[in-house]
Symmetry: C2
Subunit: 437 residues, 2 copies
């Protein structure tokens, strides 16, 4: 990591708990990929003095990058321009060319123009406007080695601006003068920043994200200990979530750096084997879909405890209709016997939550829908309905691939939602492991 | 609002974007309900100097409440105890009774005890331990009118501690001395705080959350303008999300305050009519489930564009097996004709995305599963598959209630996920409106 970054978010809706701050996690991840470790991320109330103090306070720590988000709209609560000008002790200038660009944008989209929108053409002196996709222009400024970047608060506008304009600016690894010139050229104006932006990354970073499923905490600890990897130039991080483990490999984007990452990646894959399902950060339903498409196979699902979630995960993917035919949510046993043709004696003998019924459900849905592959789930998601024999979290996932049935028994933990999510992911992963790469 | 609050979260995982800060939105909402407006919420890197400076900085603003979250575990990165002690210039004391409580907890759960866990029995001098459900004790302290509350970072441990111990402490509206005595009694130790906690709410607040569906932005603006409500003692806020609108009514928990809230609530309900689906902040699938249960009716679903999401939303609710029998995800047209018995000529004449097919799907699933009510969705979720006649976002939702079919045509907007979520909620709401209260 070559420098530090800070983030300031304005908006009372973040402080009242009305919305989750997804901008923070997006920016934090993107900054880290570019080589900047965020040390502070502050949400601050819509108050000029508080926001100004926050900007000033951040600048005293001299981060390489300070990202501001929100407060660029036309209302009285939009105070980012004013706060940056006050914190940096510069005036706000009206930018005629920016005003015209904003008016053109409004006209082009048929939005009503209000005089309050004139405010959006104000910029702190020395700032360069960032081209905008929504209605609010962002801006960049430099001060004492910090690159200050002001972005909209609307998540899609922020992402769009970041991807199209900010990331190229930062990855360009320009000197301060070049940065200012480039930003100025882009906005069509000269930029008067007197200082260079010093703390750019020395070399571009390379980040690889591998995804794996079916690795518990203790297995992960053993794996990392066996790996015994301590090269500071190729760092391995992990992140656990319900749909598995993300292994994050970070290094330098140089031939030597990539070689080190290749060695690390090979060793991780050798240790985890078939549990690694993507080398390119793809979600499990995407990987399953790709394998089905490649093999020319179709799939159908029969769900009890996941209650539609497994089908939902598969159909989250646009284009899934190429291989996903449909499913049956067999919540009531009459649906299991009726639509899926599960033998009633199986239900009586073994109960709905059993290996036998999971197998019969997967086979039944293949038959009923005419699919090449079938997946099934049956289990106790809780919080009620558990017994000593069949506790909450007991789940069977069944699979049929070209006529061959295989069932796995799971002991899942957590709340109802978590058990259902894990059961759906486990079923997807079972199919993934049975399909050719 | 009677006082300000601040939050400090420690943990690099929040700054790297590995996890969303759900603790912030939870605490922000709870604090506001108690009468404290959060003005600052800071995520800070796991560094003693940075965390100490953040605590010190917050205390200079004299918030009524400062909540810290995270950094209470046994590892080197857990620095909250040390930072609070440094910021308040007090030593850390080893609490023998707390150590025994932690050791008992570990033994009781069969967790392995490690000497590093001894660190969790350290508290800044003057702090009172908060009883703990997980493995990390929290603590409270008072300084110059600020009540400092340190909680674990694990979301369920934080919520549990907040609900069971912190909220009662705060809502007790005790004077500082009483607060300290109560906290001391609870932890079995005397508390040496020399200062009173002054900025407690003058009166308890009452917050009501009404939920409504089917209200667009312009309708909301008109409604608020018609309402013309400006009583500062009964405040109306709104929050929009994919499953509808939350109307937040805030006032005083006094007889007079409640009367004002009653008037406001009545006027909101009179304006929005049948669009209000809960006066007690219940989710739409809960309300639908309650009405089905009360009417003694069962339901089944037939999904095309929502691909399992509608069934998932219904089965998110524990106990939904009382009224939800099952469903068919009819992604491929062969499933529509096969399992649901949709007439092939309907598909040929009108296309799968049509009023006629939506009706036939809802009727078909009632027949196939033997349910009293049926719901269906068919539409174009995008991003591909749209045409001029049938653009992305065109969705039909169908319903059958005791043999009578009704279909609604929707023009939804947004990305694939959003269109699917809105379609599922629209189907649930259609059923809700057709069921007796």
């Amino acid at each position: 990591v070559d420098g530090t970054a800070e983030m300031i978010f304005s908006g009372d809706e973040l402080l009242r708990g009305d919305v989750l701050n997804t901008n923070q996690s997006y920016l934090g991840e993107r900054l880290l990929d570019l080589g900047f470790l965020a040390t502070h991320a502050l949400c601050v109330t819509d108050d000029l003095a508080a926001l100004t103090a926050a900007v000033r306070d951040s600048l005293t720590r001299r981060p390489a990058v300070l990202v501001l988000s929100g407060g660029l709209g036309p209302t009285e609560d939009d105070l980012t321009r004013e706060a940056v000008a006050a914190a940096l002790d510069v005036p706000l200038d009206h930018q005629d060319d920016l005003l015209r660009a904003i008016q053109d944008r409004f006209a082009g989209r048929g939005f009503a123009w209000s005089e309050s929108n004139r405010k959006q053409a104000l910029l702190p002196r020395g700032a360069a406007a960032i081209p905008f996709s929504g209605t609010a222009p962002g801006f960049t400024m430099e001060r004492d080695g910090t690159l200050l970047i002001a972005l909209p608060g609307v998540p899609w506008e922020l992402k769009d601006m970041w991807q199209k304009h900010v990331e190229p600016l930062v990855t360009g690894r320009l000197t301060g003068e070049e940065t200012a010139r480039a930003a100025g050229a882009r906005s069509g104006r000269a930029v008067s920043s007197p200082t260079g932006w010093a703390a750019v990354p020395a070399a571009a970073h390379e980040v690889r994200r591998l995804r794996a499923f079916g690795i518990g905490e203790s297995m992960l600890a053993d794996m990392l200990s066996d790996l015994d990897w301590h090269d500071p130039d190729a760092i391995l991080g992990t992140r656990a979530s319900l749909d598995g483990l993300t292994l994050i490999l970070r290094g330098q984007a140089t031939p030597e750096g990539r070689r080190k990452l290749d060695v690390l990646q090979e060793r991780v894959c050798a240790t985890l084997g078939d549990k690694v399902y993507s080398l390119t950060n793809e979600d499990l339903p995407v990987v399953v879909g790709d394998r089905l498409r490649a093999a020319g196979l179709t799939v159908a699902v029969a769900e009890s405890c996941t209650g539609g979630l497994l089908a939902k995960r598969l159909t989250d993917i646009a284009g899934s209709s190429e291989y996903f035919l449909g499913g049956v949510v067999a919540y009531d046993n009459l649906v299991k016997t009726g639509l899926l043709g599960v033998d009633e004696t199986l239900l009586q003998t073994h109960g709905a939550v059993s290996e036998e019924v999971a197998a019969a459900m997967a086979e039944g849905v293949c038959r009923a829908i005419g699919a090449d592959c079938g997946l099934s789930t049956t289990g106790i998601a809780g919080p009620d309905g558990g017994s000593e024999d069949k506790p909450v979290g007991l789940v069977y996932v069944g699979s049929v691939v070209k006529g061959v049935t295989r069932v796995e028994r799971l002991r899942l933990w957590g709340a109802r939602d978590q058990i259902r999510e894990r059961a759906a992911c486990s079923a997807l992963d079972l199919l993934r492991r049975r399909l050719p790469r």
